[in-house]
């Protein structure tokens, strides 16, 4: 297939911007004619997927909830042609996603308690100044067009340690590896990021239709697309989840079990932390380097995501329930990985809230104080089918363990735990790699809200702005 028309696709759909600052503005549309005027006014500022000669100071992207599209008075025939799960929204899918207990919608932040969010407007920037400029321009447009009301803004910022931004999240793990590579999308892909080829050795890009509407997916089908076709093509669906992280609870849990693991020393603690995720906290995949962190691997694009699980069927290197093995099982289910090609998602995460004090300080060990601070991750995932991709991964691979052959076991850090839940770490019997069952699992994360959004193409944005959506 030929190269995609990147100038018609929103940049956020194609790649993470890798900018340290971001602000997510949630808007509620006013009267549809004013809302359309706002969209047209915003259109020249929307960042497309065209490659940059020079990185811009800031970017702007737009996405809509189904309620937002309804507020634009799209024809009913168009509104009901969207996939059902998108029409329902994330709150109505709580029972499917396992968003129960403390994660249930009744406990969400006030922004998400109502059904007012129509628009996700994302500003990413190289500096707070650049974000501020873009935001002021937005405020002026909101004022001049009267098209929408700003409900709330959510700030996010890469964590900064020693004056340098890094890719870590609040539990200390290096994040952002292994987004899939898709056919036709220009991106510096590396081995291990697409799908395993039929030879079981080389890697190939996934079909474009796993990410973008209007193209063939891994089954050779086109994903469900709204009518008219032009409204959907080059668009994608996004899930936005604000996930609070209880850093105090995590550190206390890690210390508690590390004292019973291996030699019970600092190395055992880091090794145990790696067994939760499948990577050492510096990013080294334990499947490649089970005994030590190795920045040579992390920094080597030919190795950092290039591994399989076929030589580790018992999970003695990377546990069967480790996070990265759950959400991207690679070849773990056999059949050269073909069982997972239709379950891949692209992630765009961003940490929010202040970085926690270092673990080796008294404040860094104060569980209650650490948990009291609102910090976490804004999890954003893109896919062509929310039901087939994101919802499946969340339900079957995060909140259940049957496919991984670990029964009812759930993802340690992301799932909602109930009494009696366990996390098993397979070992090989050697003193430095013993098996361990962690019991009495607390909830390390808490869902604070979110929704399903549609990220339209540039053409579709123009159609929305000019009221040209005609399903006939």
């Amino acid at each position: 297939m030929s190269k995609l028309n990147a100038s018609d696709i929103q940049g956020f759909s194609l790649r993470g911007y890798n900018m340290p600052y971001s602000r997510y503005c949630f808007l509620e549309f006013n009267a549809p004619e004013d809302a359309r005027a706002l969209l047209l006014a915003l259109l020249p500022s929307v960042t497309t997927g065209q490659l940059w000669d020079e990185k811009p100071q800031s970017t702007l992207n737009l996405a809509f909830t189904h309620r937002g599209l309804a507020a634009l008075h799209l024809p009913l025939a168009t509104l009901i042609s969207f996939p059902v799960e998108f029409q329902l929204g994330m709150k109505a899918r709580a029972a499917v996603l396992g968003d129960t207990g403390a994660n249930a919608p009744e406990h969400w932040d006030s922004l998400w308690a109502t059904d007012n969010v129509h628009v996700w407007l994302a500003i990413h920037g190289l500096s707070l100044d650049a974000i501020g400029k873009q935001f002021h321009a937005l405020e002026a447009l909101l004022q001049s067009t009267g098209g929408a009301r700003l409900l709330e803004s959510q700030e996010a910022c890469a964590l900064c340690i020693g004056g340098e931004f890094n890719l870590k999240e609040h539990f200390g793990y290096t994040d952002g590896f292994g987004n899939p590579d898709y056919l036709g999308i220009c991106r510096s892909a590396q081995p291990g990021q697409g799908k395993l080829g039929a030879d079981g050795k080389t890697w190939e890009p996934l079909a474009t239709g796993e990410l973008l509407l209007g193209y063939a997916d891994e089954a050779g089908e086109r994903p469900v697309c709204p009518v008219p076709h032009l409204l959907g093509v080059n668009g994608t669906f996004m899930v936005y989840r604000k996930i609070r992280q209880r850093v105090g609870t995590f550190r206390q849990f890690l210390n508690h079990w590390a004292s019973r693991y291996g030699a019970g020393d600092d190395f055992a603690k880091e090794k145990l932390a790696s067994k939760f995720i499948g990577r050492w906290r510096d990013g080294t995949p334990i499947e490649l380097s089970p005994d030590r962190m190795d920045q040579n691997i992390v920094q080597d694009p030919n190795r950092s995501t290039n591994f399989l699980y076929r030589d580790d069927p018992e999970g003695t290197r990377c546990p069967l329930g480790a996070h990265i093995r759950r959400v991207n099982p690679r070849d773990a289910f056999g059949f050269e990985g073909r069982l997972i090609h239709r379950r891949r998602i692209s992630r765009r995460g961003a940490p929010y809230g202040p970085a926690a004090p270092p673990e080796d300080t008294p404040e860094g060990q104060d569980t209650e104080a650490l948990d009291a601070i609102d910090r976490g991750i804004l999890f954003m995932a893109l896919n062509a089918s929310l039901a087939r991709q994101f919802e499946f991964v969340q339900q079957q691979w995060i909140s259940y363990g049957n496919d991984a052959r670990i029964g009812n076991e759930k993802d340690l850090l992301l799932a909602h735990h109930e009494r009696g839940d366990r996390y098993g770490i397979q070992g090989d019997g050697s003193p430095s790699n013993p098996p361990l069952f962690c019991t009495g699992l607390p909830n390390f994360t808490e869902l604070r809200g979110g929704d399903y959004f549609f990220i339209p193409s540039i053409t579709a944005l123009e159609m929305l702005g000019r009221n040209l959506v005609d399903p006939r």
Binding site: A95, R388, Q395, L436, F437
Partner: protein
């Protein structure tokens, strides 16, 4: 052995449902109503009767034509479809059902054409044999163990996991002492009744995503 996978038997029955326009509600609706009220878990008739790995009952109204060129086909009647993976063979399994859940069988199958009732066992077995289709390709997640063996294995897995979780880091002497008691108790334990340990998942299925 089209109906056999390892030691597991795949039984498929297609039983025509009585077509009587005077019946109100219709016989197929009466089956649907009855099936919707069947208990799940340990009270399910297929947990009460022995030997069922998995069972499914479906009311098949008609076949729906899909494709080109237009060529409509219809079933001669509505059918009750019964599919199960079970221990033993067809007759021994069905005999077990008759012995343990005759009322349930009659309540469901009395709406099917020509059903002789469960009281006359030879006629019952003969009827089911006439309604049988070869299962051919079927999936049995565990195809070399009986229901009781599988239930015992699951019980052992749960017990061993709980034992490990409560004995990590024990001294060798303490561990050996407790393990002997544990093994003795486990070996004497009868297999748990079917469906007694159903894991209550709050999760709802999303339809197309499973």
């Amino acid at each position: 052995m089209a109906n056999q996978s390892g030691s597991v038997y795949g039984l498929t029955l297609l039983c025509p449902i009585i077509d009587d326009e005077r019946a109100i509600p219709s016989h197929d609706l009466q089956i649907r109503y009855h099936l919707s009220k069947l208990p799940l878990g340990p009270d399910s008739p297929f947990a009460v009767a022995p030997g069922t790995h998995l069972a499914r009952l479906v009311v098949l109204d008609d076949v729906i034509y899909v494709g080109m060129p237009t060529c409509e086909e219809h079933l001669h009647s509505k059918y009750l479809v019964f599919e199960c993976n079970c221990d033993g063979d067809r007759d021994s399994y069905l005999t077990g059902l008759v012995q343990h859940i005759p009322n349930q069988l009659d309540a469901i199958w009395s709406h099917c054409t020509g059903y002789p009732g469960s009281k006359d066992l030879p006629a019952f077995l003969d009827y089911m044999k006439k309604c049988q289709l070869d299962t051919t390709f079927f999936f049995a997640p565990v195809n070399d163990k009986s229901v009781n063996q599988t239930l015992s294995a699951l019980q052992t897995q749960r017990a061993v996991a709980a034992f490990i979780a409560t004995h990590q880091g024990c001294t060798d002497t303490h561990l050996q002492q407790d393990f002997k008691v544990f093994m003795d108790r486990l070996q004497k334990a009868p297999p748990p009744p079917p469906a007694a340990h159903c894991f209550a998942r709050a999760m709802k299925t999303g339809g197309r995503n499973e």
